[in-house]
Symmetry: C2
Subunit: 613 residues, 2 copies
Amino acid sequence: MPNNTSFQVQLQPIGKRVTATPDVSLFEAARESGIDLTSACGGEGSCGQCRIVLLSGEVTPPNLDEEFILSELELQQGERLACCTFARSDLTVHVPRESLITGQRLQIASDLREIEPDPLVRAYSLKLTPPTLEDIRPDLTRVVDGLAEAYDLQSVFAGTAVSRTLPTILRENDWQVTVFVRDREIVGMVAGEKRPLGFAVDLGTTKIAAYLVDLATGEDLASAGAPNPQIGYGEDVISRLNHVHRNPNGGQVLAQKVRETLNDLLHELAYETNITLDQVVDACIVGNTAMTHLLLQLPVRQLATAPYVAAVGSSLSVAAAELELEMAPGATVYIPPCIGGYVGADHVAMILACDLDLESKTSLGVDIGTNTEIALRKPGAAFLSSASCASGPAFEGAHVSDGMRAASGAIEKVRITESGVDLTTIDDMPAVGLCGSGIVDATAELYRSGLINNRGRFAKENVRVGNGRFGAEFCLVPAANSGSNRDVIITQKDVNEIQLAKGAIHAGLQILLEATDTPAEEVEEVIVAGAFGSFLNIKNAIAMGLFPELPNAQYRQVGNAAVIGAKWMLISREARRRAEKIAHNTNYNELTTYPKFGRKFALGMLFPETINK
Amino acid sequence: MPNNTSFQVQLQPIGKRVTATPDVSLFEAARESGIDLTSACGGEGSCGQCRIVLLSGEVTPPNLDEEFILSELELQQGERLACCTFARSDLTVHVPRESLITGQRLQIASDLREIEPDPLVRAYSLKLTPPTLEDIRPDLTRVVDGLAEAYDLQSVFAGTAVSRTLPTILRENDWQVTVFVRDREIVGMVAGEKRPLGFAVDLGTTKIAAYLVDLATGEDLASAGAPNPQIGYGEDVISRLNHVHRNPNGGQVLAQKVRETLNDLLHELAYETNITLDQVVDACIVGNTAMTHLLLQLPVRQLATAPYVAAVGSSLSVAAAELELEMAPGATVYIPPCIGGYVGADHVAMILACDLDLESKTSLGVDIGTNTEIALRKPGAAFLSSASCASGPAFEGAHVSDGMRAASGAIEKVRITESGVDLTTIDDMPAVGLCGSGIVDATAELYRSGLINNRGRFAKENVRVGNGRFGAEFCLVPAANSGSNRDVIITQKDVNEIQLAKGAIHAGLQILLEATDTPAEEVEEVIVAGAFGSFLNIKNAIAMGLFPELPNAQYRQVGNAAVIGAKWMLISREARRRAEKIAHNTNYNELTTYPKFGRKFALGMLFPETINK
């Protein structure tokens, strides 16, 4: 079969269509389209987790792995392992809920408080009398009158998108409906009695995290995650902005990509909670300034060149329909204000969720991601100060040979002993790679053990340092014990990537302190949010020089605080007011204009000399 | 050349693309796409008015008519007559302004008053300082701050569509711009200093009339007209609603058609006045309830079946972008409220423009079109009463053999004498057809002269009655004297069409008077709006039985008052408030439910017995 053939694979019931070439397994094909199937072995045919059921179409026959793992009955019923199955025609495939990764391990710290819901959209159930020749009120007027009579809501109105849906829904449901109203505007109407739901999203450069939330109670109903599909157009922000600049329809394509993924997440959340998307009546999406500009298809040329100016910095309420999001027809999406060209709404959300704006201590908030944002709160000061550093995605598992996200089989803790390596994996599954906290541990341990020097070079003379395809490397788990049947290694190149990331963050923290005349001793608290979740070994992070020495600081890990902030703004008017205030009262410091930036960065890449080996 | 070939013809500078088959002249091809070229001869190659210039592509060589009319130099320069030229490849053609019919004769009565402009959108010119590394305010913030400083406008914001345009416009125009603001929202921004303009439209079932208006002064800058392109899907309202019901994407297609024509009109108006469409920042579109539903793509099934309920009756402010209208990115379109399923925003506009709601007399307002709406004002009553009759498009020139709109060469007055026919044509051009007032005159005169009887049957024994392809007919102008080289005739079928139209209107007026206990003698004023413009011979209209006998009524002709009402609502907040009140305070009477309707209709089709022949 020629290699350039490709087939359409319809994944049920999530309703996603992916493209598969004959030489790519359905597991890979799904992953390339952002649908991750459960797997401990990484698609090697050994864990048996990525089960699917073939509903129609031709595929390759079961291989030996499948015959070993699946029963004869299961095979007869069309069950297969996605990683062992290759398309030979267009297919329809059922993906059982168990085979779908519905989100990585939840990275929510227990110490972020709950807030009181005060949502913008509320639900009203109505039972109306149908029109007659004596009562020919238009459908919309009938609904508006009904709301006034039953709930004393005055001057309610609706736009065209919602109005289009009224005649059919009213007549098909015997004039018994739930009306969703935002301020005075009807944003949706559904059959029977339904709850109003919301969609909270952290749109990261590398990863997207989303929650489905009950607006009335504030309860999380489900969470889901996906890689940012724009990665194919550049792993970091600048290369994506350049892509848009160089390609006439680049802005449209990148916006389209991320909107499709948001819709996939909506479908996944709806499937998991058994709701319909017309119940999703509000959304809050946070992201760095470039990500929100790309989502909204705002011009980015001026964002990519000095003086790095955003087109829009204030908050926006955008029609979900304008973003082609499959929500209630009148739903809006709230994009919170940003602080500067590279300190976005995600950072505002993080400050909000950590209550950094309300702190009475000198506190640093560090949100580690592909871009790392830092905020400094000084008690008594009217303003917060912020900065942004291009740390790259190493701590998110990218650009590291065996990096991965915090899913089953990821190494999250590492201790290098005299005789070997002690490690802990997520779900205690055989190791397949390293997640962020594992990368920090491994790097700190390599340095502590003298396997790398303070410049990050491997001690090649040490017998424990191997020589692999990419030069010096250290094997954490040999193939025989791993979940992927391959060695889990950390290479010289990996160490260098990690040094670039920590150098940027270290420099950013130091410059922000200097720029605000804040001695290191004055910092009482460091709030760590982002990539690591709540699982970072802070001692190791200091040992490897990710954070400068702050002798009096207490560290507090809060996981993905940005998505929690997004949720707060989704369910509470007061949270939105606070977000506006935070953005207004935070000064942005452009790091690269500081004369010492280059030197601080270079120094930050080194490993600290004073470490208790 | 095979007949099923077709070519694309690009008309410059109006930017319209039309399709031409090899056997259809460019004149016809343009007309089929709603672009009417000037012509006195009706496309017969004799008047020389439809000049175009071929810019690229292959066409048939000049014929004898063209060689006679055009000079050798003109032919060398590519000048042609559109009616004599046939495409032989895709073409680009220049259409000189003189060759474009930029609107039929303006049908505005002088006695409709002017109102004081108080527009929703205002223009503010700004000169801003560009960003620097010390001043990295986002572009939108810079504009908002500029408006606050220079004009004390507070809390101004913008949506995404407008925000998308800011970075380029600001940088390309040295930060010197005009900002258009509606309430607190920026709806557009243009280079330099520009006036804010508006688009007022009467969206008729058969014809669309539009004005470009200076919002600040209320001045009309230009007018334009076009056939409603939905005619191809049904000439009357009901057949269009049925088309939508029967075709899954019918609603979309019909909406698309009319939106395209509105864009063509916008381009035509912009070309004529040398403005750019980003200056057009507001619009008001009136039409009957079905036309506005079709424009907005609202469901119409419930409008086509008893009890004939509108989806939306209240006014709507719709984003111009949602209707795909090429206006300023944040422009909105105001659709005024309607009164009932068949008494629409156009009637509200007519009542407004005639000040019928403010009248201290017993007044009837009659808006004659494909649907004819009637409103009755009784002094002292809190309410107006209204009704709608399906009169058909005969008085608009459709369904009548030689019917045409009120353009050059249309017969507008007819007197049948003993020896012949006296007639007046528009612009004194050779007659090519009959417009509405000519149709009324001709019918009344045929009856007065005994050429038709009181049932509308031609007196076949009369030597002046001819026998044509469609039976009995009367020749108004023989081919030798006409502008079309064909007889201008009125046939038995034409008379029947006219009877159906007048029967419906006559019955509607009578029933509305009876339903409101209004004796005919009480009516002091009849305001006649719509198809006829201001050129109807009222005596003849009464003689033929279009209006019942109202012994004490003064008649007042106001032309297309609906488009004037649309203009008022475009330029004035107060006019919008009055429109809301009119819709709220007008009772709708469904004629077809009156037991006497059928009989009144049949009687109305007869010609009055008591007439001073």
